[in-house]
Symmetry: C2
Subunit: 476 residues, 2 copies
């Protein structure tokens, strides 16, 4: 069964407008995909948005091409997928995509990413709804239910209760502190980043081992784990010949922030856990994600994804587009020759699905590099400038002192064939995506605080004194 939900184009003024849609009866397989089971509510495990399923809200085919619409199907066959960090940028888009594809999805998130924005005086350019409203709206629009477990995976008592309620068949683990600049703000945040990320991942490994050893773990790593070696970057492992002998070894990694290093630690731990406990683990070394809309998040403004432009959580292309939209010069760090792997958020969600559908073998961690194209920072800045012109934007590009200690010109050739071999059809970066993203940024430009654009911290300045970003902003 395939169907699609249509909704009116949404804008800030229409935030409360509900999309109209026609109805169809759900099929049995789809019904299973929606169900979350009648689990009791533990005192530490909050399960929200279990609105009764109503046939009237179930998807049907698209009404008109100009309206946002989403394809619903049951190809996920109700496989139970726990999305840890499902309130975040990649996690939210992934949770909706998997739900639309007929997986039974539950989100686990402690929502601390929202707290960090509050503490640092930041905010998403796009107005994101609460996670409770998000999943309620998704249910209202599609009839599909997403379970919600609010809590911290570093709290193993919480993790245990939630895990045993949901009993996932696959777990997608986005639930980490994911900003390099955040990890370099000060000593406390450096330690926090590593303790939080490493402990959470170890806890998930133990939960799988003890409660559901067949559960497939799909863990988000980063291409930043590899650093910028002077040789080709392979997918996780390197065939080495040395003094006449051969072995295939974990690819030597050189992260460049306490955040990137935390992901290396995770990978190192996971290789051991997969081998020692015969687990199924896939490590996805993701590139820099750009874009904001996916088919699912575009359905209604309540489902809108976050879009970060601040110097701590904003990433290269998204940040440049927003700078262009608000008439701020694009801030290239140093020479701008830094080359990295990039991908569209619409490909992130598809890659995760491909990973889930093609589980790793037991005992040997599978590693795939999750990006579709390589760009230098200068190339991205130039693209934004070019696409901005027809929209009336006079985009300027400026070099600012690089807050990071990194090579600004270097060899970079990273492999990414594994996900393509599994059938990924990339959305390559083109004028259309940049144009679309610029329009989103222009729509919400009044929400942008220009003070947050310039680098707030640098790698050399990371110290033992707390970095009070909020204070700095307040006095600016």
């Amino acid at each position: 069964m395939r169907g699609s939900v249509s909704a009116k184009p949404v804008a800030r003024q229409q935030q409360r407008a509900h999309a109209k849609m026609s109805a169809a009866a759900p099929r049995a397989s789809q019904a299973r995909a929606m169900g979350v089971g009648a689990a009791s509510l533990g005192s530490r495990v909050q399960v929200a948005s279990r609105v009764a399923s109503s046939p009237s809200s179930v998807a049907t085919k698209a009404v008109a091409t100009e309206k946002p619409s989403v394809t619903l199907n049951a190809s996920g066959k109700g496989k139970k997928v726990l999305v840890i960090g499902g309130d975040g940028y990649c996690g939210w888009a992934t949770a909706l995509h998997l739900s639309a594809q007929g997986y039974e999805v539950a989100i686990m998130d402690n929502l601390v990413r929202r707290l960090w924005d509050q503490q640092l005086g930041y905010d998403s350019l796009t107005p994101i709804a609460s996670i409770q409203k998000r999943v309620a709206k998704w249910k209202e629009l599609t009839g599909r239910e997403i379970g919600l477990y609010i809590g911290d995976i570093c709290d193993f008592e919480f993790l245990t209760e939630a895990w045993k309620q949901f009993m996932p068949e696959a777990v997608v683990h986005f639930g980490e502190q994911r900003s390099a600049p955040y990890s370099m703000l000060d000593r406390e945040r450096a330690v926090f980043t590593q303790v939080n990320n490493v402990s959470g991942t170890i806890n998930v490994l133990y939960a799988i081992k003890e409660f559901s050893p067949d559960c497939h773990m799909v863990k988000l790593g980063t291409m930043g784990e590899y650093g910028t070696p002077n040789i080709d970057i392979e997918e996780g492992y390197l065939d080495v010949e040395h003094n006449g002998r051969k072995d295939t070894l974990p690819y030597p990694k050189q992260g460049n922030s306490f955040y990137h290093l935390s992901k290396i630690h995770d990978s190192t731990n996971m290789i051991f856990a997969a081998k020692t406990w015969k687990l199924r683990i896939t490590d996805l070394n993701q590139g820099v994600v750009y874009g904001v809309k996916t088919e699912e998040t575009a359905l209604d403004e309540t489902l809108i994804n976050r879009l970060d432009y601040d110097s701590v959580f904003g990433t290269a292309l998204n940040r440049f587009v927003i700078q262009a939209a608000v008439d701020h010069p694009i801030t290239v760090y140093g020479k701008g020759g830094q080359t990295r792997g990039f991908l569209d958020i619409r490909d992130t969600v598809r890659c995760i699905r491909l990973a889930i559908d093609n589980p790793a073998d037991v005992g040997a961690m599978k590693v795939m590099n999750q990006f579709t194209e390589l760009f230098s920072v200068n190339e991205l800045a130039g693209l934004v400038k070019k696409v901005g012109a027809p929209l009336g934007l006079d985009v300027k590009i400026t070099s600012v002192p690089n807050p990071r200690i990194e090579a600004e010109e270097h060899y970079y050739n990273a492999k990414n064939s594994k996900l393509l071999d599994l059938g990924l059809e990339p959305h390559y970066l083109g004028d259309a995506l940049v144009d679309s993203l610029l329009k989103v940024a222009m729509e919400y430009k009044d929400r942008c605080d220009h003070e947050l654009i310039l680098p707030a911290n640098n790698w050399g300045g990371s110290g033992v004194s707390r970095h009070f970003v909020g204070q700095k902003v307040a006095s600016a």
Copy 2:
């Protein structure tokens, strides 16, 4: 100035007997090496054993060859060295050796290693004195003072206060949870091991960066970080040629317990910190240490070093010797073909000194493999059996199920030339050492609890339930 202190041979019955020695006046350079400065006592920083220096307790030449004696000199020129974990097996021996060699030494330790013994129902075979009594005795015998900072380096407030009082010129970092089996007891201890080790090391890195950027960090890693690759093990880095391009990269590591992995994480973090903050860091990948006596610890029974024989903290050769001494079969794990690097504890202390005296360059972590010989487990067991016979011991060797998930027969060729190039003259393992160690073990054999010898846990059984070793022992 060179001198030596003599002491009577010590035995358990003579624990309170004080060694007699003659006196000589300290020279100025030595006096500096002894001084710890008149720092005020912070509420969280305890500085103990600052007994007034008395010329009558200062060293002189050896009285008789059959008595234990120690060489004192001032070649360390009063360089201030902080030994983190200085109450442990390697740390205590190192602190005394450096003090004897004329460095100004302070020990930093939270003494939690002693707590773990209490919690697990373990004890050193040798009767170790409290750290306060240890340093007081050292001062009494040699006139040399060792500062004492009791606290946890994971508590950055403590670390900061202690650091600023002592202001080390070099720091030797042994202060980690160092047992692979302990890290595999259960989930809580796995997480603890990684959080404790990684956080503590990051804190030390920040302390150096912020308070004394010229301070040289000598960090204890382990040969176990490398695992058992099918290629030669180099010292920290590997020259790689791949697809026609070359680079020198961190050696790919494959640890085999959450403990070993924690040391890999440390190394990965330290490479980054050295590069980013231009620090001087040496990483010493140490092999399995054997032996118990050093020149300094043998001086008096109050200075005696710990000797672990339990299955969690005991290591291969020491454990085999004790098993032989107490008429327990030597327990070889599995086939016994596991080959590792080993060294005498008398070489550990010399290696540390060589590392301190030859600081790493700023910006690039120096890695040295700290072992002197390679042995398989079966070779060690056979050696103990052979040396035991003339002592009247009928040593049996038995294979027990391997608690670890590891290759029991494998290629192993690890390099160790860097410390030899710096002048290390190894104490190679021979009959004499095993004979001496067997005699120590036989002297204290009544303190051995046979119940603690067999493996208490295995890698596959590491779970979310707490592993109550003490309970198991109590009911045995």
